[in-house]
């Protein structure tokens, strides 16, 4: 458990630092953000019953991961963390959409199953897109680009706060787990009641910690806005090229039947 948390913390830090090299890093963050938003809108608007097209969105993500020199399998790993939540949403479709639309090796495939699979894929691809965008850009340039594109400050500030809160949550959880393990006398599986206590302790600690962090941030001049440098963004030809090339890819996957 503690090793998994350690990995998650490292992953979070890696994911939120601009690690992409070469062209992927040099492109204007606004171009990357516009591409990612268009990609998400186009992907999420793909009809659920068009499963082949939904699955095809995975290809540009793989290509983008390759160009950014991101570890694609880590991306897949992190996106799979959300699988239970996404699958839960899809589950309702399986229950309510029972119309048989195909047969696979003699097994009837209902509309609900296809929709559930499409929802799951869309969820996973959405997470991968967001992670990749952060990986290639870094949290601060990304938030700077959001502000330049006139995305409300409140939303941008929340994005930064979520990032910090996730770290605090993981660090606190790690400490609680260490303290629990130190007194567990070798027991590896904890009863449900203990988990309930751990979670309630985690909530109390994170509230306390959040309060202190808020003080530490205010002590350094934070006033609830987004602490970004007055960065000069220069839009170059390569950014235009990048934008249109990717918009072309998005249009092909979304509208052209291959």
């Amino acid at each position: 458990m503690s090793q998994n948390l350690e990995r998650a913390l490292l992953g979070l830090d890696r994911a939120f630092r601009p690690q992409a090299k070469g062209m992927a890093r040099e492109i204007d963050p606004r171009a990357k953000l516009l591409v990612a938003l268009t990609f998400l809108i186009a992907m999420l608007s793909t009809p659920l019953m068009d499963l082949g097209r939904v699955a095809a969105w995975g290809i540009p993500i793989m290509v983008a991961a390759y160009i950014s020199r991101a570890d694609y399998f880590s991306l897949v790993g992190y996106s799979l963390l959300l699988l239970p939540f996404v699958a839960l949403i899809g589950l309702f479709n399986i229950l309510y959409e029972r119309e048989v639309v195909a047969s696979l090796f003699g097994i009837a495939v209902t509309k609900g199953w296809i929709m559930a699979l499409a929802i799951t894929l869309r969820g996973i691809f959405s997470v991968q897109t967001i992670l990749l965008m952060v990986f290639a850009t870094g949290i601060y340039p990304l938030c700077g680009a959001m502000l330049k594109l006139r995305i409300p400050t409140l939303f941008v500030a929340q994005t930064l706060m979520i990032y910090r809160f996730l770290r605090v949550l993981l660090i606190e959880l790690q400490e609680i787990i260490f303290a629990t393990q130190a007194r567990s006398a070798g027991i590896k599986r904890y009863p449900l009641r203990l988990w309930a206590r751990i979670i309630s302790e985690l909530l109390i600690r994170t509230i306390r910690r959040a309060r202190t962090l808020d003080m530490a941030m205010r002590a350094r001049g934070w006033q609830g806005d987004v602490p970004l440098a007055r960065q000069q963004y220069v839009w170059r030809w390569r950014d235009t090229l990048f934008l249109f090339a990717w918009l072309g890819v998005v249009a092909v996957v979304r509208f052209i039947r291959l």
């Binding site: 979070l12 830090d13 660090i171 440098a229």
Partner: protein, 241 residues
């Protein structure tokens, strides 16, 4: 701004709790290094939080360089007063040392070039340039403490407040910290239990007990008063025993 700090008839009560400060009057002049000593719950940390406007007094006023600490002046106050928290883990909340040290200058709205310059300069002052790209939460206790100080130095404050700076440090890190703080020409207010640190670092000592100042004077005068120190759950520095 003249770098003095003044507390006038300060009272502070925590919600639902006892009165933490009861009529504190204190003036710290430009360039002074002052130790604020007292047992647990004496009100030391509360006084520091008030000086930075993180808490507002129930009664009385705090003046920093002629400016009263109130909601409308907080922006100016916090650029001039740097607060180093007791637990560096509470001070370091970004993923890398670089981001952490840059947090304050970013809030000041400086350019990216100026931020980078300040980050390097602040880390150089605390001898931590080599930690620039390290993960904040993977540093040793001493490294965390030095980086925590750098996070305030990058805002170039004129007054520095430190809460238990030597807590949880090994002897070598503690020695390094003392040498570092001695070299500061800032106005310095250090809340501590560490009598030896106070003795080495400060010329003036203020003793706080149950929310009140019970003694204020030159360190030689205060540290000779064994009974006074013991009545405040403190003890004399090693050099005075």
């Amino acid at each position: 701004m003249h770098h003095y700090l003044e507390f006038r008839a300060i009272h502070y009560s925590y919600r639902g709790g006892a009165e933490a400060l009861r009529g504190v009057d204190l003036r710290i002049s430009h360039g002074e290094h002052v130790a604020l000593i007292g047992g647990n719950g004496a009100g030391k940390s509360t006084l520091l939080l008030l000086a930075d406007g993180l808490l507002m007094p129930s009664a009385g006023e705090v003046i920093v360089g002629g400016i009263k600490v109130e909601q409308s002046t907080l922006h100016v106050i916090r650029q001039n007063v740097g607060l180093v928290f007791q637990d560096p883990d509470n001070q370091l909340f970004m993923s890398t040392v670089e981001e952490d040290v840059a947090f304050g200058p970013r809030n000041m709205g400086l350019s990216e070039e100026e931020i980078s310059r300040r980050v390097i300069e602040a880390l150089r002052k605390v001898d931590a340039e080599g930690l620039l790209h390290r993960d904040s939460f993977r540093l040793s206790g001493g490294e965390k403490r030095r980086v925590a100080i750098a996070t305030t130095l990058s805002m170039t404050p004129s007054i520095i407040l430190m809460d238990e700076p030597s807590a949880n440090l090994d002897p070598k890190s503690r020695r390094r910290l003392i040498e570092l703080l001695r070299a500061f020409d800032h106005t310095l207010l250090v809340a501590t239990h560490d009598m030896d640190l106070a003795e080495e670092l400060c010329q003036r000592v203020v003793v706080l007990n149950k929310g009140q100042i019970v003694a204020d004077g030159k360190k030689e005068e205060i540290f000779r008063r064994k009974e006074l120190l013991e009545s405040c759950s403190l003890e004399q520095p090693y050099a005075y025993r």
